[in-house]
């Protein structure tokens, strides 16, 4: 059981299921799924998605355009939504984060509803992602006071001239079946009303397609959540825990 905070920095949590290409999918699936989910997600919208595929070839980058459709089901307060696209199911929750006890049942509901609608042949990717926006209480704080994950700047480099950075790593889990991508970036002050803020993005995902059997998916998500919690706690210091106000 992880720590709980009264003022958690999570601004969005995302649970994503990308089904294997062998899974049969047709245009009726979103409507059938909506019938099962409309009690909790009654507001329906549709997006037309344009994708650009960039391929690194001998002549440089080449691009290809394609489009697809995505249906979105929102809760009445629009704090939670389900996205359905071709062989894609995504559950998003926005702030205030309802804690895992609130988010987990929604992911289970969506996943089970999908399984009742179609026969899932396998999963290309599963992802559990937590996006945090962390506002520091001090203007010119040292990163090390608040984070245990940040870029190292050697003593021969300018110490107070770093305008921006991207700190990113990938951790390997379960014999490289899973990975967790961890990223820390500052948010521009001009879009934060002068406050010092950072985006801490944790994306735990199935890196090996079909690496998890369909019946084990919910266990995988539970495990992923535990890993994400561990990594999050590993990224922050007690100073930040005080900002988030741990609930004991």
């Amino acid at each position: 059981m992880g720590r709980k905070y009264a003022n958690p920095p999570i601004i969005e949590a995302v649970c994503e299921f990308r089904l294997a290409s062998g899974t049969r999918w047709d245009l009726t699936v979103p409507g059938l799924l909506y019938e099962k989910l409309k009690g909790l997600f009654p507001q329906k919208e549709q997006r037309v998605i344009q994708e650009v595929e960039l391929t690194q070839g001998p002549d440089g980058l080449q691009q290809q355009f394609r489009t697809s459709e995505r249906i979105m089901f929102f809760t009445n307060d629009r704090k939670m939504l389900v996205q359905v696209g071709p062989r894609l199911l995504v559950i998003n929750v926005l702030k205030p984060y309802p804690h895992w006890e609130g988010f987990k049942p929604c992911t289970e509901l969506a996943w089970k509803s999908l399984q009742e609608t179609i026969e899932v042949q396998g999963l290309e990717r599963i992802g559990l992602r937590y996006i945090n926006r962390i506002e520091l209480p001090a203007q010119n704080a040292e990163l090390s006071e608040y984070f245990e994950f940040y870029p190292f700047v050697g003593s021969r480099l300018p110490q107070h001239m770093m305008m921006s950075f991207l700190a990113a790593v990938e951790f390997s889990y379960a014999n490289d079946r899973d990975r967790c991508r961890l990223q820390l970036t500052p948010v521009s002050r001009s879009v934060m009303e002068g406050k010092t803020a950072f985006m801490l993005d944790l994306d735990y995902f199935l890196a090996r397609p079909l690496g998890v059997a369909v019946p084990d998916v919910l266990n995988w998500i539970e495990e992923a959540h535990s890993r994400v919690e561990e990594i999050f706690e590993g990224c922050i210091t007690d100073n930040l825990r005080n900002v988030f106000q741990e609930v004991l």
């Binding site: 601004i11 969005e12 995302v14 994503e16 329906k44 919208e45 549709q46 997006r47 037309v48 998605i49 344009q50 994708e51 650009v52 595929e53 960039l54 391929t55 690194q56 980058l61 355009f65 489009t67 459709e69 995505r70 249906i71 979105m72 629009r78 939504l81 996205q83 894609l88 995504v90 998003n92 926005l94 992802g127 992602r129 996006i131 926006r133 991207l166 990113a168 991508r181 990223q183 970036t185 948010v187 521009s188 001009s190 879009v191 934060m192 009303e193 985006m199 993005d201 994306d203």
Partner: protein, 183 residues
């Protein structure tokens, strides 16, 4: 609306820029936003290796509403002054449908007012519970053509607002540019 997804498959880099046009499910439109105008700063990353590009692209999010908003805010920040970024962000969270319209509104404003300062704010009606995004153009000198140009600029994106719950209004408060980004 922009979401970017990237996959690195062996030597092949596949990056997806997902732009979306949101409508109600029963009102699917056939016209897509111009993908070249979307707030994606990929060219800035050309000096990186493909793997690094993939990493850069991935940080822009995958199926995340918040990342889409942050990307848009960062893109806008290059040419628009925010009066109240927190309120703008909250408005976009409420009306995510606007994410794909805003770049078109800004492009239209820049097209017809290339020397204007653009200022974005959320207008809250003091008497009724109504609020919407406002994109002000501010000029050093206002002439007779301003209103006509505003109408032409607005006409370039207005049809994209049909059936959307949010709204962005292009207008002017006839003030001079000020602060950061003042020309």
């Amino acid at each position: 609306m922009v979401t970017n997804v990237a996959y690195l498959l062996g030597r092949q880099l596949t990056a997806s820029v997902i732009a979306s046009l949101r409508t109600r499910a029963e009102d699917v439109k056939s016209k897509y936003p111009n993908i070249s105008s979307l707030p994606w700063d990929f060219p800035d990353s050309y000096w990186l290796s493909p793997g690094e590009i993939a990493f850069q692209v991935q940080r822009k999010g995958s199926e995340s509403v918040v990342i889409d908003i942050e990307n848009l805010m960062e893109w806008l920040n290059r040419m628009v002054r925010f009066e109240n970024p927190h309120s703008i962000r909250e408005y976009l969270l409420r009306f995510t449908e606007l994410l794909d319209v805003i770049p078109q509104a800004v492009d239209a404003a820049k097209k017809y007012f290339p020397k204007a300062q653009l200022v974005m704010n959320v207008y809250q009606d003091p008497e009724i519970a109504d609020c919407y995004l406002v994109l002000f153009i501010r000029l050093k000198h206002y002439d007779d053509s301003v209103i006509e140009r505003l109408e032409k600029a607005e006409a370039e994106y207005l049809n994209q607002l049909v059936n959307k719950k949010g709204w962005i209004q292009l207008t002017t408060d006839f003030r001079e540019p000020e602060g950061e980004y003042a020309l």
